[in-house]
Symmetry: C2
Subunit: 409 residues, 2 copies
Amino acid sequence: MDNLFATPEFQMSLLLFVAIGGYLVASRINQSAVIGLILVGLFVGPSVLGLITYTDFVSGLAHLGAVILLFVIGFEFNMKDIIQPRNFAIALVGVIVPWLGGWYLAVLFGFDSASAIFVGTACTATSIAITANVLKELGKLQTDAAKAIIGAAVIDDVLALLALAISTDIVGGSFSYLGVAIVTAKAIGFIVIAAAFGLLVVSRFLVRLDTTPFVKKYPEFIFLFAMMLAFFYAMCAEAVGLSAIVGAFIAGVSFKDVELHQSHSLKEGAEYLQIIFASIFFVSLGIIADLHAVTPEIFLFLVALTIVAILTKVIGCGIPAKMGGLCTKDALIVGFGMAPRGEVAMIIALIGLERGIIGQGIYVAIVMMSLLTTIITPIVYRNWFYRGEYCKYEGGGTSMPDSSQEKVA
Amino acid sequence: MDNLFATPEFQMSLLLFVAIGGYLVASRINQSAVIGLILVGLFVGPSVLGLITYTDFVSGLAHLGAVILLFVIGFEFNMKDIIQPRNFAIALVGVIVPWLGGWYLAVLFGFDSASAIFVGTACTATSIAITANVLKELGKLQTDAAKAIIGAAVIDDVLALLALAISTDIVGGSFSYLGVAIVTAKAIGFIVIAAAFGLLVVSRFLVRLDTTPFVKKYPEFIFLFAMMLAFFYAMCAEAVGLSAIVGAFIAGVSFKDVELHQSHSLKEGAEYLQIIFASIFFVSLGIIADLHAVTPEIFLFLVALTIVAILTKVIGCGIPAKMGGLCTKDALIVGFGMAPRGEVAMIIALIGLERGIIGQGIYVAIVMMSLLTTIITPIVYRNWFYRGEYCKYEGGGTSMPDSSQEKVA
C-alpha cells in the first residue's frame, strides 16, 4: 500500500483508463473496439511509453479476460450448427494449408524449426469473436455463408488448439505418434465429456436449482456457480493439453439454453464481466508486444506472413466451401471471413513467448499479423462483397451441398 | 502454465468453488452469505486445511472485490439522506465510545500502544453492507430507525477511516496536530470534491454521452467508464490517506441517479461483478486469518472484545439516537444495528497486519469479533425487536427530533 503504483486499485484504474482510450481510438479510425484496445496497449506498453508493464497481476487479469470472452462467445452457439460435414471440411483444409504456409515461410526466412512450427500453428487459428462481430455489424449473421464461417471457425479453433498441443510436444522433443494419438484422444474425450456433462447434467441441474427456495434466498448463486464452472472447464482443458479458452467456450455452449426465472441471467452477467476483463485482455496483448523487436528483417517477415496468412485461408477454406456447394462469391466470403486470426493466434503466440519457444521478434510479427488480418476482413467485406446485392446459390437457393442436391434431383 | 495449480484459471475456479461452499454453509446455518463465505475461507485457509494461500493474485482479486462491493453499496444511497444532524451525532459518539472501549481493553490485556490504537480503530467501524442487508431481509428498510442507521453508518465509515488514517500516523510516529488537521482537510476535501465532481460533472456527462452515436456503436463504453472511475476514485482515496473503499463508495453515490437508455445499466453490471469478486473478498478474509494464532489469552481477548464492541455501539449510538427523538426501542434498534463491524473492521485489521502493526493474534481476534458482532445483530433483531409490533415515536409518530418539534409546537 505504501507504493501507490503497486496497488491493485491503481493498476485496475490505469488499465481501464487505457481501455477507454482504446475505444476512442477505435471510434476515430472506425474499427472494432478490439483493434483500438490493442493499438493503445502497444502505445502505453514498452513499445512506446512504457507506462504499464506485464506484471503477474496484469497477466492474471488478462487470463481471466480470455476465459470470460470465450465463455460469452459460447453462448452464441449451438452444438448442432457446429457439427456439419461441410464445416469440418472447411476447417480441416483451412488448418492444414495455413499451417504449411506459415511453417514454410518461417523456414524460408531462416528461423529455427521450433519457431517455424509455432508460426505455422499461429497461422491455423481463426478468431470466431472478430468474424462473428464483423458479420453482426453488417447484418449478415443469418446467411449460409455466415453459418458456414461460424461453424467452421469453431471446429478450426479446436483443431488449431490441437495443433498447438502437438506443436508444443514436437518442440519439447516429446513427439511420438502414440503421444499425438493420446493428446488427440484426451482432447476429444474432454470436449465430448465436458459438452455432454454440461448440456445434459449441469444445465438441467441449474434449471431445477432455479426453482428451489435456496436460490430464492440467494439469487446470485447460479451465476456464481456458472462462472465457477467456466473456470473449472478452463482449468480441465489446460490439464488435458488444450488451451483454457476451449474449456470456457464449451462451458458457454452448454449454458446456452439455460433459462432462469428466479436468478440473474448467466449470459448478461458474463457479458458485464467480459466488458471489463476482455478489454484488459486486449490491452494486455498490446502491452506484451514490444515493437522494439521489429528489426527490418522482422518487418519483412511480418508483411510476408500477413499475405501468406490471408491467402492460405482464402484458398484453404474457399475451395472446400466451393466444393461444398457455395457459389464463388460466397466461397470467397467464407475464405476472407476465416482470415482474421484475432485473439486465438495471439494466445498461441503468447504461450510460445512465455515458454521461451519463440522470441520477441516472431511474437510481435504474429501479433501484428493477427491485427492486420483482422483489420483487412471488414475492409474487404464492406468495399467488395457486400456493396451490391447478395448472390444466390448456384444450386438454386438452398444451402445444401451439390452432391445431396444431385441426389434429390 | 507448467504448474497447473499456479494458473489464474485454477486459482479462480478454486476460489469460486469455495465460495459456492460458503453459500451452502450459509444456507445450512440460516445466515447471510457473508458469514458462510468467511467460515469456509477459514476452513480452506491455513487455519484448517491449508488448501489456499493468500498469494498476490488472490490479494489483488480481494482488493478489487472490496472496491466493487462498496461501489455497489454506494448506489443505494443519496447524499441528502446521509447528511442529517442526528446521523452525525449518532456516528460521532458511536465512533468515540467504541474507540475508547477497544483501546482500553487492549491496554488492559497488556498489548503495546500501537496495537491498542489499532484495536480501538477497528472497533469504530460499522458495516453498512451487513446492516442494510439485515434490514432489507426483515423488510424494515423504510423505517426511520433504518434510515438513521444507514445514514449514521455511512458517516461512521468515513469517521472510522479518518480514525484509521490518524492511528496510522500515530503508530508511525508522525503524529502532530498539524498532521491530523492536514489529514482531515485532505480527506474531507477529497470527499467533497469527488462527490461534487461525480454528481455534477461525471454523471451529467455520462447521461449526455449516452445519447451520442459513439455510445450507440459501443454500448459497453459507459459501464467501462464507470468502473474506471470507481477504481480511479478508490486510488485517489488511498492517495489522500483514506481507504480505497471510501472512494469507491463515493463513486457509487455519484452514479446513483444516472439513467441510461442506450447503454448497459451501471448498477446491474456492477452487481454482477460484485457477485464474483465480493465473494472472493469475503472468502479471502477467512483465508488470511490463521486460527492457530488463537492462544488461550487471545481467545479471552476476543470474547471480551466482542462484548465491548457490542456494548459500546449500543451505548454510543443508542443514547444520541434517543436524544435525537427516537423511542427507547428504536434507539436500541439503532444501537444494535450499528454493532456489526463486518468488512470495514476486517479491512482495517488487514491493513494493520500487512503493515506489521498488529500480529496474527490481534488480527484474528478482530476478524472473529467482526464475524460475531455480525451474526449477533440478526439474531437479536429477529428474536427481540421485530417479534411484536413496531413501536411509535414518543414525540408523536414523526421522525423529527424533539427540539424541532418543540419549535413547531
